[in-house]
Amino acid sequence: MAGTAVSGRLAWRVARLAEIRQETPTARTLVFDIPGWPGHLAGQHVDVRLTAADGYTAQRSYSLAAPANGDRIELTVQRVADGEVSEHLTGPYAIGDPVEIRGPIGGWFVWRPADTAPVLLVAGGAGIVPLMAMIRARREAGSKALFRLVYSLRTPEELYYAAELRRPYAGLDITYVYTRELPEGQSGIPRRIDVPTLNTAAWPADFGATTYICGPTGFVETAADIMLALGHSPQSIRTERFGPSRD
C-alpha cells in the first residue's frame, strides 16, 4: 500500500468558473480556469473553499472529473438538499465567479495510464465522478487496459456524462443498475447492486484486476464486501467514500 509522495505545501489557488454543463436536473459539471495547475492523476480530488463577504469560509472535497487539460479542471457537483456548499455551486455560482481550490490530493485511489491490469469501476451515484476521470484518462492515453464499469443510479435521468457513456468504445463494458426506475422498455425490476451483478461484471478473482469503488458510504461497504466474498483480495480493492453514514 504505497502512496504517491507529495512534497511542499499545497497552495490555495484562485479558480474561475469558465463553463457549466448541466449533467442532470440536480448535478452540474463545473469547468474552471486555474492558472498554474500542476496536473493530477485520475481519481484524485481537490478541496474547494468558498468565502463569504464577511470572511466566513466553507470548504469541501470534490473529485476531479477529467484528466488535466493545461490550466483547466472539471468537477461535477451533486446538489445535496440543504447543502451549504453544493447548493451554492449548483445554484447561484456563475461564470467568472472565483473560488479557491487546492490539490491535487490523494495518491491511493488513482489509476495511471501505465497500469495495464484489467479494471473494474463500481460507481454509486455521484461516485461516478473520479471513475469517469479514469475512463477519460484511459481514452486520452490510448490505453488498452480492459475496463468494466458498474454504475448504480436511481433513475435513468440521473445518469451523468450521458452522451459520452452512451457512445460505445472498445475496451469499456458498462452495466447499469437502476435502484428505483428502469429505462423505458427495459424489463425487470429495479434493484440494488448485488452478488449476481458483481459476479457477472467483475473480473475473475485471479485475473490480477484492480477494483475501484466509489459512492455513498453504505454503497461502498456493500460493494466492497461482495467483492471480498467473490474472492478478490483486499489489496486489489480501492475505495473512496463520499458521503456521511447514519449509525
Binding site: A2, S7, T57, H88, P92, E100, T217
Partner: protein, 199 residues
Amino acid sequence: MGVVTPGFTGRARGANPRLPPGQYLAEDFPVLSAGPTPRVSAERWEFAVVTERGERRSWSWPELMALPSEKITVDIHCVTQWSKLDTHWRGVPVDALVGDLETAADYVMAHSYGGYTTNLPLADLLNGKAWIAYEYGGKPLTPEHGGPARLLVPHLYLWKSAKWVRELRLATKDDPGFWEAAGYHDYGDPWREQRYQGD
C-alpha cells in the same frame, strides 16, 4: 482574507469554541478508509507492542478485556472536516500496554489489520492521551469504525486513530505512514489545521 465568492453567504456558523478551524459538526458518524472494511473476529484478534529492539508483548482478546479499562468522552475531528462532540468510548489506555517496556523510541508506527499504517510521536500516545478503544456509544465497536478495536488519539485528526489496530511498533526514527506518504501531515493537529504536508 480569501477571495470572496459573490453571493455566497454560508450557513454553518454558530461559532462553537470546541470546533477547530474549518470543521463542521456532524450528527452522524461518517466512515472514511482506503479499502474494504477488514472483518477481524475477536478469536483471531491479537494486539502487540514491539520495541525498536524487537522486544514484543502481545494480548489476545480475552487478555485485553481483562485489563482495566476507562470510559472516555471526547471530541473527535476528521481531516475531511467533520467533528463530533462528546463521543463516548471505552478502552485501555496505551500507557498500560507500553507500560514498563524498555525503549528509547520517540516514534510509533501503528499497523492495522488490512495493511494501514500511521505514524505518531510516542509522547502523543502516553499520559492518558490515547487508548485502544473497543466500545463506542456503549456498544462493541463495529467493523466500519475499526472494530473490534482501534487506536483512539482524539487530540489529532482521526486518520491517526488507526482502525483495526494490530500493532504499535516503537521506533527511534519517524517514517511516514499510509496517508502521510500520500501528502498528509506528519502530525495532524486539528487546532493548527495540519491537513497536508507543510501546513
